[in-house]
Subunit: 456 residues, 2 copies
Amino acid sequence: MARPTPLSGFPEWLPEGRIVEQHVLDVLRSTFELHGFAGIETRAVEPLEQLLRKGETSKEVYVLRRLQEEPDAASDRSGQLGLHFDLTVPFARYVLENAGHLAFPFRRYQIQKVWRGERPQDGRFREFVQADIDVVGAGTLPYHYEVELPLVMAEALGRLREIGLPPVRILVNNRKVAEGFYRGIGLSDVEAVLRSIDKLDKIGPDAVADLLVADAGADVEQARACLRLAGISGSDEDVVDRVRSLAVEVGAQHDLLDEGLTELGQLVRAAQDRAPGVVVADLKIARGLDYYTGSVYETVLVGHEQLGSICSGGRYDTLASDGATSYPGVGLSIGVSRLVSRLLGAGLVRATRSVPSAVLVAVSSEEDRSRSDAVATALRARGIPVEVAPAAAKFGKQIRHADRRGIPFVWFPGPAEAGGTADEVKDIRSGEQVAADASTWSPPTEDLYPRVVAAD
Amino acid sequence: MARPTPLSGFPEWLPEGRIVEQHVLDVLRSTFELHGFAGIETRAVEPLEQLLRKGETSKEVYVLRRLQEEPDAASDRSGQLGLHFDLTVPFARYVLENAGHLAFPFRRYQIQKVWRGERPQDGRFREFVQADIDVVGAGTLPYHYEVELPLVMAEALGRLREIGLPPVRILVNNRKVAEGFYRGIGLSDVEAVLRSIDKLDKIGPDAVADLLVADAGADVEQARACLRLAGISGSDEDVVDRVRSLAVEVGAQHDLLDEGLTELGQLVRAAQDRAPGVVVADLKIARGLDYYTGSVYETVLVGHEQLGSICSGGRYDTLASDGATSYPGVGLSIGVSRLVSRLLGAGLVRATRSVPSAVLVAVSSEEDRSRSDAVATALRARGIPVEVAPAAAKFGKQIRHADRRGIPFVWFPGPAEAGGTADEVKDIRSGEQVAADASTWSPPTEDLYPRVVAAD
């Protein structure tokens, strides 16, 4: 077999990279659990018709067929399965399927791979890990969750600062503000306005103004007003006052606008208190998806804005509905693979070694291997990760074996008849070698497990 | 949308079941890391031709196609991707692809989902989690790893005893013993003999004897000898002596037999010392797959033998090869989903609650929600999982909310002006309510996180 080459869009890490990814996942999980989110996993597949309920994603879906099955005509979709392309669609299905067994509001986190058949680019993969949190209510869901959830993500991402993650900026907007403002100035095709505004960063204000006139039925004055709204941003309540002034100036009046501004003000106030400098109200954030009905969120890594959003979401009034009950929710999703690939690719972070072992137990002869195994067992019983040398080679070679793997300590068992009293352990970085007893010796805490640290 | 129904073969757990599964995964991961195995993940897909290198698995593969792609004729397989059906094929590819960056012998664990398009049955799924450990060498791999790896699994599964996992029995055999014995009595179609012996539990000795005569070219005497070998089992070295006696009796002489018996004896001896009563030499264990060349392993849950093997594997001389170098390995794979579904389905185990939160902070009025948020933040800062009540309902209702979710403590913030000095916390199981300070109070350790325990 020839040496295989990577598949574009399907990232894999070497062991050291996986240590970084695992650390990120552990930090996310523990933060979510501290906030009372229950972990769930859903199957990787959903019925195709379920995945295609929103037509715009149809390009991305991977469809499955068993090899021995007759290839289905593309038109016959009944019973076909596809890989999920996000964790929201499966979660909505899970909630409906298990509603009778869940206590609402239901707080859940979910960390899994998703698949999209898109053209791979920097930070955009065909297989990637998402980490989602959502709160979903039965019938109703109070607004305060729209304040709480981005702050949970701010805390999670903040805890990654110490391993070298750049600071994040969570950009928030509120659909009610946008919709109320547009309607207030006489624009009724809200979706078309949002779609145009969403292109602001890509095509610039002049082209967006043209789009608003061409697609959203705006006149030049209305287009200008929309662009002025989109230009407002800030991290304190002043931002709300500026929207209000603009609304007065252009004559935008609507109950939705008032409601949205009250909510946005509440979020900005709480964020200033609990995550100062992280949350920024940004009135141009539109989010393409049409099911958001309140707050919307995007998150950029400061200094890496061109990577795109690494954590997005919002409020949706109908995550799922079984006819009798509808389930409103609010949630955000971190693009873990995008984050980790940037951390590794930009050399921001490293693991202190690529294997768990803190100690390599040397083997003096194959007949004495059981003596080395016993040392390893004694150390492991006290929580120290250990491996035993692969062969009873010369000690110099065994030390090089440890060195190549980044294992900091090599243990030399004394003769069996000494019963462990003649054991010695060497820190191969300093060369220092001391007498040691496997029932009491421990490595320094910082050497116990590989750590993930900011690169120098 | 109507209430969806589960997909047969794609298991999902409620939050409490996921806590059990997560605990099992955590125990496996920490055991593997204590033994110096580095964690990796591979992508879910492999090129179809890679998955089909061994023809017999072709029935099980899920093939992927992007929805907008033209459906490929089944005959055109070039460039097609399939979901991996185990973690060994992807690991072999990973080793070849990254050989230049890995230190050999390379110890890795890998815990991921795999997919097989098989007919679902009890304990047999279309999507399931496997947890694998392997050691792979470049060029050579000493025998002692064949002793070490099943003992790592014995330790991992042994650590699950405390949550109610029944004891396990690891059945071991050695291909060299079987092959040497068969050749020694004049049977050269070793594969055919192994395939027949593999059916012993299913069809019984008489039918196997017929098969040996019909398919493996055996005469009645040879068939009887094979069955007598298959009938030998035991957990001490006596088992080796019994095979030797049988070999003398039937005139089976072969170097491979001697070599295999020396190895098997070494394994049984080490196992008696390090995992007494767990490892049993069982000469009928054949394992269908033809790439094993030394030790083979199967594992049954005592009292649940009909569930089939929950942990299998063996030694293969050529896990992978790039022409210049071949990579021998030894590994075992735990069927985590099979294990967890039995633990849950047979009611052997339960979680002490279904949510992470140890404390629900009550809210006296929506205006005072920030006061409750501050208490939650203070508790979380000290590692206590907390959520805040969804609404400022009557306290009785908030307590019932906690009760329904199994949250043991409800915190009542005092008036803001008291600055936390009038806070109280109630253990809703005992009803005991005491004054408490969020900067010092902690729940008892056993209440901090949900625990997984043996069911009564």
